[in-house]
Amino acid sequence: MSGSRTDGGTTLDRGRPVPFNWAGRRYHGYAGDTLASALLANGVSIIGRSFKYHRPRGLIAAGLDEPNGIVQLESGAVTVPNVKATQIELYDGLTANPVNAHPSVDFDVMAVNSLVKRFIPAAFYYKTFLWPNWKLFEPSIRKAAGLGRAPGEADPDTYEHRYAHVDVLVVGSGAAGLAAAEAAAAIPGNERVALVEADAEFGGGLLSSADQIEGMAAIEWRNAALTRLEALPNMLLLNRTMAFGFYDHGLVALCERLTDHLPPHERSGPRQRLWKVRCRRVILATGAFERPIPFAGNDLPGVMLASAAQTYAKRYGALPGKRAVICTNNDSAYAAAFALQDAGCEIAAIVDTRSTAGARAEEARTRGIAIMSTAAPLRARGRRRVNALEIVALNDAAKRRIRCDTVLTSDGWNPAVHLHSQSGGSLAYDDDLQAFLPDRAVQDAVSIGAAAGVLTMDAAVTGARSLARGETPVLPPAAAVGPTRHFADGDIAAQKAWVDFQNDVTVGDIQLAARENFRSVEHLKRYTTLGMASDQGKTSNVTGIQVLSDLLGKPPQAIGTTKFRPPFDPVTIGAFAGRAVGADLMPLAQTPAHDAQVALGAKIEPYGSWLRAAYLPRNGEREHEALAREVLAVRNSVGLFDASTLGKIEVKGPDAAEFLQRIYVNGVRNLKIGSCRYGLMLNEHGIVYDDGVFARLGEDHFLVGTTSGHAGAIADTLHEWLQCEWSDLKVMVENVTTGWAVMNVAGRHARDVFAEAGTDIDLSAEAFPHMTYRAGTVGGVPARVQRVSFTGELSYEIAVPWGYGAALWDALMRCGRRYGITPFGVESLMVMRVEKGFLHVGSDTDGTTYPQDVGFGAAIAKKTDDFVGRRSTMRPEGLREDRRQLVGLEITDGGGPLETGAHVLPGDAIEPRGTQGWVTSSINSPTLGRPLAMALVERGTQRLGEAVRVWDLDTWREAKIADPRFFDPAGKRIHG
């Protein structure tokens, strides 16, 4: 016996039958169905297999709290794994499959796990597969326990983000939400009110309620209220929109599903829209989740939440079975019993743990429904579906068996306090409702209706209106729920009494965890997996806390809940990404000569936020061949390099020199106008942070050069020092990196090529020596030129306004043709700087490198003024004599280059332990024809010439500590 279709259904369109496919078979439902309701109506009672034991499972809930009905929707690129069948609106041709079932939900080979259930309790895998290594077993265990499969192809859908500001946001459109929205919109000054509803239909519980509100049938009341709201000019109504996160200062995140309810071929435009809504006030009408009752066999298909059965019957015209037993400790399940009876389901009995009759007992008797009070469910019988329920009297333990195909349970209601809690609000356990209620709010937010524990419609509506107006309503106290039957610690039946259906956690597992001293609710969660995965314990958390409370003899308030974190319900990653996918994820900047270099076949690579030419191979050259050719061309003739990414910061003002004197390790005040100096910057911890050349353009005007990656950060740092520490200094700082394109022409013919491009600057060695700066024109364009060199050759960095950069590149290439001018990339530059022993911050330094480690001890000693980080370099750590210092390494074993990161050990080392430092840069030098390296080595500068051993990827190499100025140590070429 199983589910069937009735002739009811408040949101069903009987005129529109909808065919769909489930697990390879064709069915049909109606427009307005969810996949869950359609399956139920078609008599499908096994919808999945459980996570660990592969037990057959049916639907338990009708909303987003559903733990079992997890499906794989569609296939190929648009497939969505682990969607709840209760959230999927049925559309023409929908195709879905169960997850976690091999080969099928009706016959699952992994169900053998269920037979050995008592041998795989909580944390069984972690305990058993510790030796030799959990990682060895994990893949196959995960496969056996897996849920859906992620799509293997790129997501073809698009997503978008939208921002909004509202005066009032109402979350949830049940009776309380509709009433609050209307009341809020009527308050003068509330220019924008938004009402969001996760479901396709507004109305929440009204869609399946048989109650009267203010003298009207629930559905009529809902229709009238919605019509009024739709007419309001200051009302934004969003359905299919989940409020999933409530962050600081009134920021609520929404996910609006735009096309998921349509057949894939009819979808167009963005699939989903992520809203970030800043709200002056938030009204939470998020409703409540019904608690299932833990008893043995409560996971058998056919056991369902009472409210879910009511929703299926009233809203979707789908009956879960033919003969139902209702088990409850409160009044709400009586309404479910009546709704099912009205729809044609036989009600075998209402089993109520309370000893006194509830408010609806009289109606039940009138309807001829037997009530068994002071009784609770003990065990559901059946294999693939429940066929009988054993109940037990709570006073004399008398047992009784009732034949049935459906068991509906209600152990009370848990207000959906998730958003309240996310916003910083506290929770208080209510002994009458046996649930956590919103307590103190931290933001301007209020919970109303069932979300605040108000479980009757009229009271919810009255309360919602006054709370929306900022008043404090006086509401009748909620009726207390009855007791829940407890399990004795060690009761074998507890191992078959499910608490968390999605993660296969039973009362027995919680007992085991408590015995093993996992008594904090957060530890319990991690140890048993209670409340994890896609439903985050919506049906299970409070029950788990109650079981633990009972075991420890500690009130639930003292145990508390696990942390409620966003998202309230799973959100597609695509929605978070929005448009920031593919090339738009992190757009990279291009240099002025980008296109010209691409045309030359450059190998373009991302360097930080820039795309730059790594090298420019010709005729199918491999990397090392291209590097060798480019380096030798620069060494022997002339090369051209697009250096536009170098950081350029203008520092100007009467105190500019004083300011930079406090920033650089080096002296700045005494720098002559028109001169350049190489400088090192530290952070306040004394660690080498950046280096570069700074030039004095005028008495009160400097141009600070930084590394390519650090321009923005250095400019920010300079601003911070000026604004926060030395606000008395009169200085302006501006990052002009992308204001000036820089072409670096380097090599013995650099002067000739530059001159040919046409300039009014005197380029003679006497007029324009190394480390000086000149302003003038190049090809009629204003230019700033620095004669500086990172290659070790005669070299000019010619800066022109950014828009002229490409033209300058072309001009220099043209003028250099007769010298065989060779464009070179970043990697070739790096080879040349290692040949010269030039420091590269970030390669040759790390987060522990002080300036004295890279040869700046003498410069610091000469300077008397303070500078950023100076005091830190004088801490005991900085004064240690065995600090690692930057040195060169000559390879003496005849082998190739060392690996960067290889460890340097003493020359008599036998074992690879006790490192004295490591290789920081390593190249194969085309100029010198041998491999070279730089390394940070303990006391390195005192050990020049000493033989060392290098442990390099599990082999020993032999090397000798050397002066890193391998090539042209006297600097003849640079001064040429």
Binding site: Y247, D248, H249, G250, L251, K276, R278, G424, V442, Q443, E684, H685, D716, H719, E720, Q723, C724, E725, S727, D866, R870, R871, S872, M874, R875, P876
Partner: protein
């Protein structure tokens, strides 16, 4: 995400700002006379209260100006915004 009332640009989302940590930290000097203890105090030790906290922020994605604010570290409520160099509200915990 906080909504910060930049003194120059008005209320803007936190993503436009960068937090520079606790404000009113005195930089000791001159460097030759500062003890190791005083210097580490300046570098590393912060009040870290579970209460109102005076901290400095910069509107990095806007006017690029630094300013101070008082934020409750429990509720994230911002109760004052005031310029660099000023002491701020007297009642705010240091």
């Amino acid at each position: 995400m906080l909504l910060i009332n930049c003194p120059n640009c008005g209320p803007r989302p936190e993503i436009e700002f960068r937090c520079g940590g606790e404000s009113h930290i005195e930089r000791p000097g001159p460097h030759g006379e500062v003890t190791d203890e005083a210097w580490s105090d300046y570098l590393f030790y912060r009040s870290n209260p579970k209460a109102e906290h005076r901290e400095r922020w910069v509107h990095a994605g806007g006017c690029r100006r630094w300013f101070n604010l008082v934020r409750d570290t429990v509720t994230h409520r911002i109760t004052a915004v005031y310029p660099m160099g000023e002491a701020g509200p007297a009642e705010a915990a240091r």
